[in-house]
Point group: C2
Chain length 334, copies 2
């Protein structure tokens, strides 16, 4: 794990806890559970609460603007709150019952309490940016607000895709851009924007984050089919079981390859697929070029991300840490 | 209906529609349906979309600061978006199937789509304030953000009260202050804050709105028990059917009157109450003084609201319109 991620956990962890403690009790217990800070009864625990990648990127973003990482903390907490707001609500919408090896919040506290806790986390993220006296507080809030709108648009597209058989690869990439890359781009920019960085710097960092976000989604999609359960925390080929229209799947379906119709027929089946059939579907995606396309696209995005950091005047060590995080979250573990 | 309400509809209606049209299609259709702008298939309609009270108050708030009502439009749209975000999510949490004589959005589009549309409306409200170049954009966003947090806290308390038999009147008043009065206070202030009004003016307006909000909640609770179905759009004694711990009910239960235990036993029954029993419960609330207390408290709050507008230097016609709206929304229709 890159050094920046551990630093982010140390700096952002206590600030996140302080922010959550500002919430009203009924909402706080759901948020604390979701964050892995408390069990279902409200007793303090420490369980895996995500990798703190976005906070790490937000702190780096402050450093990119020439200030100490400490000054990026409230922006980092805000981005992570938005990320977790979306996880909390998405788990309800998608009917997911497990996250980070624990029952999802809505299964523990009910749909109503989970909706409310998500709402509170979104509003709190906003509060943190608006109450901070940093020069770019308003701009940071706008940066986050734009990302939230794209996040919501992306989730809306994702839900709509489930009901459609004709999703194009371009639509799928756009959806990933909204659902995943927009908040990543915000994380890479917001720390700098918050302290009043120049637009050129902010734009370069946003471009970096957008490319990294897409490479991350491609990697996540590849892991969802070919990742080992120890790595993903989910059953093998989980995304195929759920017939998820992930990027490698749509690339294969729309490839024009001779294997595409057979794959389409398999994924369109109403009943559960056997282990053999899931393996067969994964092999058809490989044969139709879906896996190779996704791997190459992830590589290209990573290269484009690195290029985005050229000539925008950020310190060499900050650049190296950005790249290290980008490589870490797109590592091929299959 | 006070003149200010019709003016608000004319000014704020088109701006609200323009704001909703910015949403992504899947989210937009849910928001448009909820607002009464479209039917379930997305065809344009015009049905009752609420009374636009908060927008009317927000426009008056701008006028209180000495500017034209037009300058309060984005703040008015933002407040109304937050109000509707909370209705959309509360309907899911409370399992309500009808609002404004139509099926609630979640029953038409599903829980997931309704959650997402609410999220988008909350984020959009924020966008509108942050992107506006008015001098107090940041402060207006903070004013709204604080109201949102209190709204969420109030809904959390409301949900918690359902599971408790020992709710005090003080807790109940605090809950109403959070759930209803905070956004009303925000509506009465935000137009002035947005154009950079002095703190004394903003505080006087917020105090007015807080009192009006509580008087409104008391009136709504009285209507929920003694209001005619033609007025409320709900079955007679709907709140008693639902065993809602509204202010007159809690006032009666905690009055120490001899009728209180019988009322408590009746409302604690697991099975549905007959029409006769509902009538009996309503009579017990009267006998225990719950109705008289609520009526007096509403009157007192209305008087306190009027007093809040003294000496803060607002034009006489604006003051008169504020009072007219306050009286309109607390009129005794039982």
């Amino acid at each position: 794990m890159p050094a920046g991620v551990a630093v982010a956990r140390d700096l952002v962890g206590p600030a996140t806890e302080a922010a959550i403690n500002r919430l009203t009790p009924r909402v706080r217990r759901v948020a604390a559970y979701h964050y892995g800070l408390a069990d279902a009864q409200g007793n303090p625990v420490r369980v895996g609460s995500g990798k703190a990648l976005r906070p790490a990127l937000a702190l780096l973003s402050a450093r990119a603007a020439g200030v100490a990482p400490e000054r990026g903390v409230s922006a980092a907490v805000a981005v992570e709150l938005v990320h977790n707001f979306s996880l909390l609500h998405d788990d309800i919408m998608d009917g997911d019952t497990e996250r980070r090896h624990r029952p999802t919040a809505w299964t523990v506290f009910g749909v109503g309490a989970a909706i409310l806790a998500g709402d509170a986390m979104l509003a709190l993220a906003n509060d943190l940016l608006l109450e901070d006296t940093a020069p770019g507080g308003l701009w940071a809030a706008r940066c986050l607000s734009t990302a939230v709108q794209r996040l919501i648009a992306g989730q809306g597209e994702d839900l709509a895709f489930e009901e459609r058989g004709d999703v194009t690869l371009a639509e799928c990439i756009e959806m990933a851009g909204d659902k995943t890359a927009a908040l990543m781009a915000c994380a890479c920019t917001i720390g700098a924007v918050h302290v009043g960085a120049a637009p050129e710097l902010a734009m370069g960092l946003a471009e970096f984050g957008g490319h990294v976000g897409l490479a991350f989604q491609l990697t996540d999609d590849l892991l969802g089919i070919w990742g080992a359960p120890e790595v993903t925390g989910k059953p093998v080929r989980a995304d195929l079981r759920a017939r998820k229209k992930s990027l490698p799947v749509v690339a294969a379906l729309t490839s024009g390859a001779p294997e595409a119709p057979e794959l389409r027929a398999l994924l369109a089946r109403e009943d559960d697929l056997s282990e053999d059939e899931l393996l067969q579907a994964a092999d058809l995606i490989v044969a139709a070029g879906g896996k190779a396309w996704a791997e190459k696209e992830a590589d290209d995005r990573l290269a484009a991300a690195a290029a985005s950091l050229d000539g925008i005047g950020i310190p060499a060590d900050v650049r190296a840490e950005f790249i290290a995080i980008a490589e870490f979250i797109t590592a091929r573990q299959w």
